[in-house]
Amino acid sequence: MDENLQIERLKQGDKNALYFLYDKYSGALYGVVLRMCREQGLAEDLLQEIFLTIWEKIDQYDPAKGKFYTWAYRIARNKTLNALRKSDPLIQTDDLGVYKNVREEEDLQDYEMLNGMVRKLEAHHQKVIELIYFKGYTHREAHKLMDVPLGTFKSYVRQAIKQLRDHYPLAIALFLICIEVIENG
């Protein structure tokens, strides 16, 4: 299925195109939102809101600037963080202690376990990815949580990204190249 074509259709107001994108990405986005807010009811409401926002704001998405999923992820992340700030006014402050207590003290839920290639990374690299991508912490918040200097944290990030890239196998690249060729050819 050509995602670009579906996005074009979505821009023209085709609901089925939205459902196509929902079927493809709702799991990934729900995984992120649920890990960030750790509350199923809220996560479900947020997921619906996210796709409504995608429906309403798809005109603002510019494929030249990046992939659709990245754009959708940003919407998901911002909406979730805003919802968390609203639900607890303390989070609005910069007091990381409160922030940490609110979002880290509960027991780890089943769905929070990371899967796939990221599991193959070393523990501290996994933690970096988890904090900034799945928990929505900024670099500045995350390095304090991990109790390492910001410079060290940034080099962890760099190493983690490199390893992630190296881990994804050649077959996927070949597959993507073939699709690219056929789509453009």
């Binding site: 079927d23 600037k65 999923y69 990245t70 940003r74 994804y168 070949l174 190249i177």
Partner: protein, 262 residues
């Protein structure tokens, strides 16, 4: 700002995560629009994170899609006809995707097959080379042995060759050596294999007695099958002595171990 600064500061990920402030974001976007390498870097980063997110997907309850459909349906934004009119194209995309997937799989499998065949061939060539080297060595050893046997056989079959058995005296009762004399070709060969081993500081040396004078015929190392020595005209006897390493000009008569009159 340029590519180098963005990469050094590690700004691509914060950009992807929407962490940058408005000013920084616009600056990064400006460079991205002009720099294909940086854009490729971002694409790769996006792909990695997208794959990772898909691997960590959690299936939402089906009720959410239903709620979404209800909400949008009530809004009535799109006429159904429009949706139907573009449906056939979706099927076409499916076929193309299938073709792409098949081609990719075929390509990957073929590559892998060729790679394994290549590795097998390399291994076979290596084994054949090793075997060939071993055969070569065996041939060399056999060839040397054959030469010795032929030489010995030649000596024994030659009617002009006189074998002389040299036995050890009381100094070395177990010593045995065979000298092959050929007066016609004026040559002497000795088989020293049955002489007892000496220390590394000593050697056997052979002498010919001519008119009461001992004349040097040469050293007799015991690690050879046949030792060629100097033929001495008019020799009356053959003698073997033990000498210091490297041999002597005059025989050490006290260490004479064998003496045979001709």
């Amino acid at each position: 700002m340029d590519r180098k600064t963005i990469l050094e500061k590690g700004l691509l990920l914060p950009y992807l995560l929407d962490e940058l402030d408005e000013k920084e974001r616009l600056e990064v976007e400006k460079v991205l629009a002009e720099d294909a390498i940086l854009k490729a870097e971002l694409n790769s980063l996006e792909s990695s994170f997208e794959k990772m997110a898909l691997e960590n997907a959690v299936a939402p309850p089906s009720s959410i899609r239903k709620r979404l459909e209800d909400t949008l349906g009530a809004a009535g934004t799109t006429p159904d006809e429009k949706v139907r009119s573009i449906r056939p194209k979706t099927g076409f995309d499916g076929t193309r995707l299938l073709v792409a997937a098949s081609l990719a799989a075929l390509f990957a499998l073929t590559s892998f097959w060729f790679y394994s065949r290549w590795q097998d061939a390399e291994e076979n060539i290596r084994l054949v080379r090793e075997e060939q080297q071993q055969l070569q060595k065996s041939i060399e050893v056999l060839s040397n042995e054959l030469q010795d046997v032929q030489q010995l056989n030649g000596l024994l079959a030659d009617r002009d060759v006189i074998p002389v058995l040299m036995e050890g005296n009381r100094l070395s009762p177990e010593a045995r050596a065979v000298a092959f004399l050929n007066h016609k070709t004026r040559s002497v060969l000795v088989n020293p294999k049955a002489l007892p081993k000496l220390s590394t500081e000593e050697t056997y040396q052979m002498w010919a007695d001519v008119d009461g004078e001992m004349i040097n015929m040469g050293l007799v190392p015991t690690d050879q099958d046949l030792v060629s020595l100097a033929y001495i005209e008019g020799a009356e006897s053959l003698n073997i002595t033990i000498e210091p390493k490297g041999g002597s000009e005059h025989p050490t008569v006290e260490r004479l171990i064998s003496n045979v009159y001709l």
